[in-house]
């Protein structure tokens, strides 16, 4: 034991420079994982913490239409003490508010919420001036409003405002409302008494009022309550949710970025591992003689391996500590740079857990990736000291039991790591399969290269012939360089390819002209008047689209059941807003079936969006029975469309052929680019509202602008991380090439004594490295295309487009880098006097 530690310490003391790269690989890998995981976890935690507060209840039932007596009776049967401790009902609607005084300008979309005691079940109101909330404030036409409304309409507490035709008096101003947690808002919040909303007719036919019944349950009752409510309400088109599920919904939006980050962390870690394996291999190669000597003086292979393993462990620990320090620095940077686009209550501290994880990962990677090269220690024969023979036995001897076992352990650990880091068994398996396939492919490519060049010896140029023989000489590094460089190139190009696709997805400017104002609830007879006002304001003809609301009641005559609703990816239980028109929009393409002709048809015919295909068996030829406000309507699916949502002003999942819906109850919507000036926008809204009080104008100008800003930040973050991976890859590439140079030094020295000029030597180097780089880069690129396609499609669920610049640039850059690094690291070969080299050998 003493010998092992003594030996490890002495070797480290003498050889730390050569192992510096090992240390860096671990440091960077661990740093990336710890920093990324901490960011992911802290963001997740920050978002989760908001969930229960956001829902203000343990569970709720919600519906977009008035409660039927039947539904209420069913709820009554389940939701009673002792399971339910308290309940309250609320109605929410988006509508317009304006000053009650008709001479004052301005109108504003508001999010109206009618409540009754004991709302809120969780959370509390915070009112400006420290006032305590009391439901009495809302009685007799009172309203509590968000400060933004006062600002927009120029009102203050005590003033009156009109919503629809009802007058409300502003009694208090919100500082924070219960359940406030961000999310998309169409306008400032206004709280009123629920009764007053019903009385004012704000919840009548055609309005998009959302009704909710909130429940507070005894401690463990949430799951039971939700399950029983779901069973009871199976036939009713209502939603039952618990705060737990609402957390899941929230995280789903976040998952995409999270997966990309986790995968990137894994990639950096594996890159580090490849670097570690490379260093160890070369290190052992250089220590061959020392190992043989130790064997001569009585050390067993096991003890020597243990000594080097101890060294690896020490380096792993030191590297991990460096990594943790790097992660801390990265978090300080993130806090400074990206705080604005991350949740407000997010922490930027490294948790003790993350630190231990980093340490464990670093040591694990050090040991795992150095284990295979370290096993070569056993095969080094001490008789190399007596003669210059370098023979490690036949190739099959390399696949002995310890080696196979270590290989299996490495694969299993990598799999476990991938599953853990990517947070999914499937993704982990994919990643590992990709890595394995690429390794196999690279090995084959290396083998093929050696095979081909061995037969291409009759090349005219001396330099080229030397380069080629260098590739297949005994003890050549062809396989090692191709494997290490190829895997590095593969991982980096995969990340860059994904990054490029992810950025395309986020690219705001490519989304065409996004509308910044929406007009909804325009009645058919108001369309002409509204269109005129729009034309006068914007100078462009208005495009008003008719919409009808409906649900899917049955598919091919079979009623959809609850089970299908739940499995239907949200496609079946929802309410559809559909339109009808004779033509496709620019951003739509037919992917199956045939689109109808220009002329209307009395036979109901629909086109569905790609995403609906397969849900509940939906496809071309299926018959869907829609429930249009109680009336049943059966239509045949005649085509499936692909909609490019990035280029859409309005998008519809279901499209009807003209001829069916013209007489159904409907309203029109319009998407326009309103004036940029805030005052002009307010005047426009008021102009519409004064004449058509039922029309709602949604001004998303600020939203559009802030989305642009957030996307800009995400873009920057993704680019930054991609750049980081590129840097790591380059570093590892540099390392793995620089470390194979010792082989060339001797050969070059001999050639020099035989009269080779530096020019010739340089040409040999360039040709040899260039060939290696090109083969490694090409195979890496090919595999990167496959992996990025799979990840984009199945994991991030974003459209994948081939990025030729990444692939071509990647191959060229890999080859160039290999050549440059190879030439630079061999520079001393060219300038050194040959005698020194030959003597040293």
């Amino acid at each position: 034991m003493n010998f092992i530690f003594q030996m490890a310490w002495r070797e480290l003391r003498a050889g730390w420079r050569r192992l510096l790269f090992f240390f860096l690989c671990i440091g960077i890998g661990v740093g990336a994982v710890v920093a990324l995981r901490t960011v992911i976890r802290n963001v997740n935690r920050a978002m989760m913490g908001e969930a229960q507060q956001l829902l203000t209840a343990d569970a709720l039932v919600d519906s977009t239409r008035p409660w039927s007596a039947e539904t209420l009776a069913k709820i009554e049967r389940v939701a009673r003490p002792p399971l339910v401790e308290a309940r309250t009902e609320a109605i929410e609607a988006s509508t317009m508010a304006r000053p009650a005084d008709d001479t004052r300008e301005g109108a504003q979309m508001v999010e109206l919420k009618g409540i009754e005691p004991p709302f809120p079940l969780y959370g509390e109101f915070k009112l400006q001036g420290g006032e305590r909330f009391d439901h009495a404030m809302l009685e007799g036409g009172g309203a509590i409003v968000a400060p933004l409304l006062l600002e927009r309409l120029g009102l203050s507490v005590g003033d009156a405002m009109k919503i629809g035709e009802t007058v409300y008096q502003i009694r208090a101003v919100l500082e924070q409302e219960p359940g406030a947690g961000g999310g998309f808002r169409l306008g400032p919040r206004v709280f009123v008494a629920r009764g007053s909303m019903e009385d004012a007719g704000l919840t009548g036919f055609g309005s998009r009022a959302r009704r909710r019944i909130f429940f507070k349950t005894a401690d463990a009752g949430v799951t039971e309550l939700v399950a029983r409510l779901r069973a009871e309400l199976a036939g009713d088109l209502v939603n039952v949710r618990s705060y737990r599920e609402s957390q899941e919904n929230m995280s789903e939006d976040f998952e995409r970025g999270e997966n990309f980050l986790a995968l990137t962390g894994l990639v950096v870690l594996v890159l580090g591992g490849i670097g570690v394996a490379g260093v160890t291999r070369v290190f052992i190669e250089q220590k061959k003689k020392s190992i043989a000597i130790l064997k001569c003086v009585g050390a067993t292979g096991k003890r020597i391996t243990a000594a080097y393993l101890a060294q690896t462990l020490a380096l792993g620990v030191a590297g991990s500590l460096l990594g943790i320090a790097l992660a801390k620095a990265a978090l300080v940077y993130v806090a400074g740079r990206f705080a604005a686009s991350l949740p407000a209550n997010m922490s930027y501290e490294l948790s003790a857990g993350a630190v231990w994880q980093g340490l464990g990962l670093g040591v694990l990677i050090s040991v795992l990736f150095s284990a295979l090269p370290l096993l070569r220690v056993r095969r080094i024969k001490p008789d190399i000291l007596l003669r210059d023979r370098d023979d490690e036995g036949p190739w099959w001897g390399r696949f002995d039991l310890p080696r196979l076992a270590t290989g299996a352990l490495l694969a299993a650990s990598l799999f476990a790591l991938a599953v853990w880091q990517a947070g999914s068994l499937r993704v982990g398996a994919w990643f590992l399969a990709g890595l394995a396939a690429t390794s196999g492919l690279l090995y084959l490519a290396a083998w093929a290269l050696v095979f081909v060049v061995r037969r291409a010896r009759r090349v005219g140029s001396f330099a080229l012939r030397q380069a080629i023989s260098g590739l297949h000489r005994p003890g050549n590094q062809t396989r090692v360089v191709i494997m290490a460089v190829g895997l590095g190139a593969f991982l980096v190009m995969s990340v860059l390819q994904l990054q490029s696709n992810l950025l395309d997805e986020l690219d705001f400017s490519r989304r065409g002209q996004l509308a910044n104002m929406y007009l909804i609830d325009i009645q058919k007879d108001q369309a002409e008047g509204v269109a005129r006002i729009i034309e006068e304001t914007t100078g462009k003809p208005a495009d008003l689209v008719p919409t009808v609301r409906m649900r899917i009641a049955a598919i091919d005559g079979r009623d959809i059941n609850l089970e299908e609703v739940r499995e239907g990816r949200g496609m079946l239980g929802r309410e559809y807003v559909v339109t009808y028109r004779p033509r496709l929009e620019q951003n739509e393409t037919i992917v199956a079936g045939e689109f109808w002709g220009e002329e209307p048809s009395a036979e109901p015919e629909v086109s569905i969006e790609e995403g609906m295909r397969g849900v509940g068996g939906l496809d071309v030829g299926t018959r869907i029975t829609f429930d249009v406000l109680g009336r049943k309507l059966t239509a045949r699916v005649s085509s499936v469309r692909k909609v490019d949502w990035r280029n859409s002003r309005t998008g519809f999942l279901v499209l009807f052929r003209p001829g069916t819906l013209e007489n159904a109850p409907q309203s029109m919507v319009g998407a326009i680019n309103g004036p940029v000036d805030a005052q002009a926008r307010a005047r426009f809204q008021r102009a519409i509202l004064d004449r058509y009080p039922n029309v709602s104008v949604i001004d998303v100008f600020d939203v559009v602008r802030s989305i642009g800003r957030i996307l800009g930040n995400i873009t920057l973050a993704v680019t930054f991380i991609g750049g980081f991976v590129l840097l790591c890859g380059t570093l590892i590439l540099v390392g793995s090439i620089a470390m194979t140079k010792y082989q060339r030094v001797y050969e070059a020295a001999v050639l020099k004594t035989l009269g080779a000029k530096r020019r010739t030597l340089l040409t040999i180097l360039l040709a040899e490295y260039g060939l290696l780089g090109m083969v490694a880069g090409a195979v890496g690129a090919l595999a990167a295309i496959a992996l990025s396609y799979a990840v984009a499609k199945y994991m991030l669920k974003i459209p994948w487009t081939f990025e030729p610049s990444v692939v071509l640039g990647g191959v060229a850059a890999t080859a160039a880098l290999v050549v440059i690094v190879g030439a630079l690291s061999s520079f001393d070969v060219l300038v050194r006097k040959p005698l020194a080299t030959l003597r040293g050998q």
Binding site: N2, G15, L294, V297, G298, T300
Partner: protein
């Protein structure tokens, strides 16, 4: 072929005659394709790499033509290593004494690259003796040294070996050195072509050699 305990035998022959191979086989550095090797009556063919290593550690000391010190260790540590591997007690003290024997106390904490060829070979000799081996194998120990240094190193090795009474197998080109052995074996193309057990001749040569050595010491 049998080498009795305590015998000094020289193996001679031209390049490629199999001298080093023979030495490697005796040291268990290589395994024979046919035949068998016994050390102290124990069969060593096919006993496994690790068992061989352990055997070498306690029974066999080797001196190579090109020294083969571990470059990352100091002279002192190079001598220390075999004892540490064997787990011997008082290793540091013994290493100091061995370096004293080869007259290198002052250079104990230098690395091999900072030592001359003769010094390096003396460290290698000290290392070879560190576990009191019963057998000392030397492969052209003076082949990489100039004649003066070579003589000194050889002198030292013979002297230290005599004090310990170990069996010595010397592979050499140098007939002058070979003449000092108890027994000479000539190899050609891997076969023994002559085995002179002529002790008398060797005895005389050794006496002459020792006389010279003593004279050198007096000067």
């Amino acid at each position: 072929m049998t080498i009795p305990t305590g015998q000094f035998i020289a193996v001679v022959g031209p390049s490629g005659s199999g001298k080093s191979t023979l030495l490697g086989l005796v040291a268990g550095l290589d395994s024979p394709t046919s035949g068998e090797i016994r050390i102290d009556g124990r069969e060593i063919t096919g006993i496994g790499e690790d068992a061989l290593a352990e055997l070498r550690g306690v029974k066999i000391g080797i001196v190579f033509q090109s020294f083969h010190l571990i470059p990352s260790l100091t002279a002192f540590e190079n001598v220390l290593v075999p004892m540490e591997i064997a787990g011997a007690r008082g290793a540091a003290e013994k290493a100091r004494r061995l370096l004293e024997d080869v007259d290198l106390t002052a250079r104990a904490h230098h690395y091999p690259s900072q030592l001359s060829g003769g010094e390096q070979q003396r460290v290698a000799i000290a290392r070879a003796f560190s576990n009191n081996p019963a057998i000392l194998l030397a492969d052209e120990p003076t082949g990489n040294l100039d004649s003066r240094n070579g003589r000194h190193v050889f002198d030292l090795m013979i002297e230290m070996n005599r004090r310990r009474g170990a069996t010595l197998v010397l592979v050499t080109h140098d007939h002058e050195l070979a003449a000092l052995a108890d027994r000479r074996i000539s190899l050609r193309d891997g076969r023994v072509v002559s085995d002179s057990g002529d002790a008398g001749e060797a005895e005389t040569a050794r006496d002459e050699f020792e006389a010279e050595g003593l004279e050198a010491a007096r000067k």
